[in-house]
């Protein structure tokens, strides 16, 4: 995308922005993975690790914003550089929020770690988590590869995650009706499902921006969203 730039300095700045975004995306993916593991294995220590390292993602956001503002002010980008800059500024916000959702999951995992084993009722949850994590992974891949078709395919997967969310909600309500003593634990699981659903939504936002970045076409708020 950028390797033919006449100004090497400008090229380096754009490259650096992309690299930082990718590093931040990688960190978000790792945090989600850890938070979900902590939830699945009711592992308080692992959950703590996630909450303890969220500051890195926040620092990523500040550094990326700084660099993007600098490029906007000094280079006044146009064309695909402008679209990349706008994408970066939007994607960084979604990534930071994904980081927050990972922390939320980790916090619930910590609370749930002292509960007895979670019943099979919630077996849709790991599947849902995997689907959302795959959406983020594919959205970031599409960003790296500047692949609008791959980004488009991420948008189509959001419905799947929404369906999982519905399933978890229904099962949880049934479970709570039958096990009133475990409502707190059930609510923790429901919250996690909501956080995962939000991760899928943020991944969708990222994918939409990738389509814009590559094609210059705004596909947000089309259809039922």
């Amino acid at each position: 995308m950028m390797n033919t730039h006449t100004s090497q300095q400008y090229y380096t700045e754009l490259r650096s922005l992309k690299d930082r975004l990718l590093a931040m995306g990688g960190r978000c993916e790792a945090h989600i993975r850890q938070a979900l593991q902590a939830l699945e294995h009711q592992d308080a220590m692992l959950a703590n690790e996630v909450t303890g390292t969220d500051h890195q993602i926040n620092a990523d956001e500040l550094a990326i914003d700084d660099l993007a503002v600098r490029i906007l002010a000094l280079r006044q980008p146009v064309g695909k550089d402008l679209r990349f800059l706008l994408t970066a500024l939007k994607v960084v916000t979604d990534l930071e929020r994904i980081g927050d959702e990972a922390v939320n999951i980790a916090e619930r995992a910590e609370e749930l770690s002292s509960e007895p084993h979670l019943p099979e009722t919630w077996r849709a949850l790991p599947e849902m988590a995997n689907a959302a994590a795959a959406m983020l992974h594919d959205a970031l891949d599409a960003f790296v590869e500047e692949d609008a078709e791959k980004a488009q395919s991420v948008l189509e997967k959001d419905d799947e995650v929404d369906e999982f969310y519905g399933q978890v909600m229904r099962k949880s309500l049934e479970y709570m009706a039958q096990h009133s003593a475990r409502v707190k634990a059930a609510m923790g699981v429901v919250s996690c499902a909501k956080y995962i659903e939000r991760i899928a939504d943020h991944s969708t936002n990222i994918a939409e921006m990738v389509v814009y970045m590559v094609r210059g076409e705004d596909v947000r708020h089309r259809g039922k969203k």
Partner: protein, 268 residues
């Protein structure tokens, strides 16, 4: 680019488009054996600003100069194709080139005031045209200086030499001089390239203001300037028109890779 021929000449209110005040069709210009531009088809829309951009030697200034027959003054220059002004071919045999240049005025890169007073610089075109009524001349001079956003700065010293003005003021004086003969189209060849940022901003502000009354075509090397002042942008490369479109579209999602490469600095 052939589909430009289908651009409607009548205003399309829903699309916010205006009539093409000038329309170049398959225009080629050569200087001796060297072909400078080839087969250019491009509308210059009424009361809009059209920016012509492209690397040095791409033919944008040649095209601009062909719009008011300035190339007639260049030895060996040959123009083919058709350039319509309000539907009339400006290169037709019965058309007076001087009248074309009155209707299609020009402002150059380097301000070129005459070594006369501020007043006489603006009055010059009127006097050449035979106007003798002093009251009328004074009125047009004031209107033109106001039109060029210079009146307030010079009204107390109209008899001083134009050379005493700053570079930016001199350029606006040249615009006032062009306005005095009541042109319909203004051609500007890098009008702010030698000016500081404040003087440039004043010229750009003036262009946006003049746009409501005049049709403007501007050649500029500054991408940002083209983006700021123009409604339409045409990208020229190696004597050909690569892309023409609304400025917002050209600078956010150009359709041609060569345009994208040029505006983002990937050329060379």
């Amino acid at each position: 680019m052939k589909n430009l021929l289908s651009i409607p000449l009548q205003s399309d209110a829903s699309a916010g488009e205006s009539t093409a005040k000038m329309l170049a069709s398959a225009v080629s210009v050569s200087y001796g054996t060297k072909q400078a531009i080839r087969d250019i088809t491009l509308p210059i829309r009424e009361c809009r600003v059209t920016a012509l951009i492209g690397p040095s030697g791409c033919g944008k200034s040649t095209f601009l100069r062909s719009l008011n027959r300035m190339n007639d003054t260049v030895d060996g220059a040959k123009v083919s194709g058709e350039i319509l002004l309000d539907g009339q071919d400006i290169y037709a045999r019965n058309v007076d080139a001087v009248e074309v240049r009155r209707r299609v005025g020009m402002v150059f890169q380097k301000s070129n005031p005459f070594p006369k007073s501020i007043f006489e610089n603006v009055a010059f075109g009127l006097r050449i045209a035979g106007e003798k009524d002093a009251t009328k001349i004074a009125q047009v001079v004031e209107e033109s200086l106001r039109g060029a956003a210079l009146w307030d700065e010079v009204k107390e010293r109209l008899q001083e030499s134009a050379m005493s003005l700053s570079g930016g003021q001199q350029q606006r004086l040249c615009i006032a001089r062009a306005l005095a003969v009541k042109p319909e189209v203004l051609l500007m060849d890098e009008p702010a390239s030698a000016l500081d940022p404040i003087a440039t901003a004043k010229i750009e502000e003036l262009i946006r203001d003049l746009r409501s009354r005049y049709t403007i075509a501007i050649v500029t090397h500054s991408m940002q300037q083209a983006a700021r002042v123009s409604d339409y942008t045409a990208f020229f490369y190696l004597g050909e028109l690569v892309e023409f479109g609304e400025t917002t579209q050209i600078f956010t999602r150009p359709s041609q890779p060569r345009t994208e490469d040029y505006i983002t600095g990937r050329f060379g």
